[in-house]
Amino acid sequence: MIGSAIYLARRSLVNGIKRRVRRLRQPKYLLGFAVGLLYYYYFFLRPRGQTVSAVPGSSAEGVAIIGLATLVALGWLFGSSRSPLVYTPAETHFLFTAPLTRRQVLDFKLLRSQLALCLSSLLSVVLFSGGHFPPTRILRVLGLWLVFAALQMHSGVTALVRQSLEEHGITAVRRRLGAFVLVGAIVATAAFALRGRFDLLQAAFAESTTLGFETLTALLKSGVLGVLTWPLAALVRPALSPDLATFVERLPAALLIVAVHYVWLIRSSIAFEEVAVESAERMAVRIAAWRSGRRPPPLAGPAKRARAPLTRLAATGSPWRAIAWKNLQAEWRGSGVRLPVIIAVGVIGLAWVASLGESRGTGLGMLAVMFLMLGGMTVVFGPYGLRNDLRSDLQLWDLLKSYPVRGAELVAGEALGPVTVLSAIWWMCLAAAFAASLAVDVPGLSVSERVAAMLAGAIAAPGLLAITTLIQNAAVLFFPAWISVGPARAAGVEMIGQRLVTMVGSQVLLVVALIPAVVVGMVAVAAGGLAHITGVWLAVPGAFALAVTLAFEARLAVTWLGRKFERMDPAAEIGG
């Protein structure tokens, strides 16, 4: 069994490397590979003095324990029922039909996955080594490997428990409620154990971060907390060993934790087999779909229930509006339970922030800044994250091309979905920031001037969002092999490089698009000055001119991209 697993891992690795090397004959992969290598070298491998850590070495254990505890808690609270030990269709076919026991099958899978885990731990250590890799770092690699292995098995168990509850008809809400109660009980126990020591901790952090972390680590090691966190501490200690002797001394406890997880996973193996085969079948369907150029079905097991539509689509009207409406529906329904949870958590958080400070205005001032930051991030990063446009729909390119819709209309409709959502978020943030700012006296910015600034921001942003979104859509139309279409994410150094090249190209295009808009905007500001408009109010005509110019550019881009869409054959281009 061990021999077979090693053989499969070894041959798969070698053949995978050979395939990637062969792929480098194509310029697009070679360029991506070169850029990816440079990126890794410059940011991670280049010697540049000692590594800088925000956490002092003596307190690393406490931080690691808290990090691990958070990961485990999040896994139980929000993890999926999809096991990390997903079998490929070939593995299912060969292993489940072979004369092997369930345990042997699981052993095989666990063994096979160790190579990936080992490489992950090696990369993690190398990437944060600051270009220095003394021999003792090997101990950290080995220690981290143990942590990853235990976490992988823990996720497997979590998924199996979740799957088992699903099969017993326990709803998602009740499953989460159970996890919340369990995690809440542990947190309450920890809080009870820490009672009377919060002041001590606060005072330590107030004096210095180092002392704060040291006090925290000491508290985590003592009393009830010490018992509660022992499994986590035992697991992370080998990775934090300064020398071989300490590592050897700490190793048995960590191995014990890994062994307990192994036994736990084996015990859960009755459900495991069904889950594994089901996952393999789902994956086989997805792979077949990808290979034939079709959209794969989603990986999630249970079917989604349709959330009521945002608006009802009228039976008649222009096609581009219908396409934009479709993408809005996807965003609305695709967010699942996250949206209500985010809104609820956000409201609670904001209420808390608003109540901060000695006077009411302090908290509201912070709130205004937070809303502006959130809005700014939405405008800058939103178009890259929200992909319910051609970046998602190109999976159904054959369906799209069969529609009696002009390419320009289709591109406009596709881009309008995310632009509408992001603009709405930006406007809401802006309005909330303005409302919160009314309770604060901002020096040099009267309420009237704040109105002007809000108007200028509200007018300018949609144009910017439209251009950024269209650039992303242009990238997927012109370089379909370079951009991830749908949920798939290709891996490898060359892919990192390709993403970097695409990102840089997008930024250059954005700057090029902004130059004429900014120039026109400045002319409008100057004209506003001549018309006796003063101060911040000058930003309003400037923003209007900027928005009009960007809208004009967007119109040209839509026409151009529409023609490109009509001419393109993604099957031929992606196939390369």
């Binding site: 079709r294 039976a315 529906q329 609305w332 329904r333 091309k401 069969s402 009696p404 002009r406 009509e566």
Partner: protein, 239 residues
């Protein structure tokens, strides 16, 4: 009416379809058969406007697909082997969305009628994930028929269907042809082709090998007399 003249598609140096010409009259069902890699899917995709031919012309209902693709596509319906549906649109929303794209005026009436005809009435608010394979296929058919196309193209229409679904699909194909649509059906299932199609087009390595009724094909090749369609197919394609 579907008219194809000199259809050629090249992928680099690979000739996927080579100078293919044929026509399908209203009420006719043309079976497109050929071994794997013969060029059937490329032909179908060219006919629907999904890919652009390297050379040749395609006319749908007298409208040139190259010069006026929007008007040509308005008369077309393509039924792929796997239903292509959007994850986050319900059954009814798929139909409303399709109606908007095709400019269907009496959409509400047609949607109601189609939902009833295809037994989808109780699933109007369901997302594709909540539907069985057969239901998804029904929805894809409903979307395809909503605008009452005059040209229908089916790619392996029986894939994944149960016996009842197969029967329903065959009925849909024959019924639409009877109502005056020109139909092209691409399939490896020679039994289906024999049962449903009025003529057969055999394609091999991108080239037309034979076209006509089975009797006409046999008449042009006396050595095929008395053979089954499967034997005729194998003899024509040399597989």
């Amino acid at each position: 009416m579907i008219e194809v003249r000199g259809l050629t598609k090249l992928y680099g140096s690979l000739m996927a379809v080579d100078d293919l010409s044929f026509a399908v009259a209203p009420g006719e069902v043309l079976g497109l058969v050929g071994p794997n890699g013969a060029g059937k899917t490329t032909t179908l995709r060219s006919l629907v406007g999904i890919i652009r031919p390297t050379r040749g012309s395609i006319r749908i209902g007298g409208v040139d697909l190259e010069h006026d693709p929007v008007e040509a596509k308005r008369q077309l319906a393509f039924m792929p082997d796997e239903p292509r549906l959007f994850d986050y649109l319900t059954v009814e929303e798929h139909l409303r969305f399709t109606a908007r794209l095709y400019g269907v005026r009496d959409a509400d009436e047609r949607i109601t009628a189609l939902l009833r005809e295809l037994d989808l009435g109780e699933k109007t608010g369901a997302l594709p994930d909540e539907l069985s394979r057969g239901m998804k296929q029904k929805l894809a058919i409903a979307c395809g028929l909503l605008h009452e196309p005059t040209a229908l193209l089916f790619d392996e229409p029986l894939t994944g269907l149960d016996p009842a679904g197969m029967r329903r699909m065959k009925h849909t194909i024959v019924e639409r042809a009877r109502q005056g649509a020109a139909v092209i059906l691409s399939s490896h299932l020679l039994q289906l082709v024999e049962e449903v199609c009025t003529r057969v087009l055999v394609i091999h390595r991108g080239r037309l090998v034979a076209i006509g009724t089975i009797a006409e094909i046999v008449a042009s090749r006396p050595d095929l007399q008395g053979r089954s369609l499967e034997e005729i197919f194998l003899a024509l394609t040399g597989t």
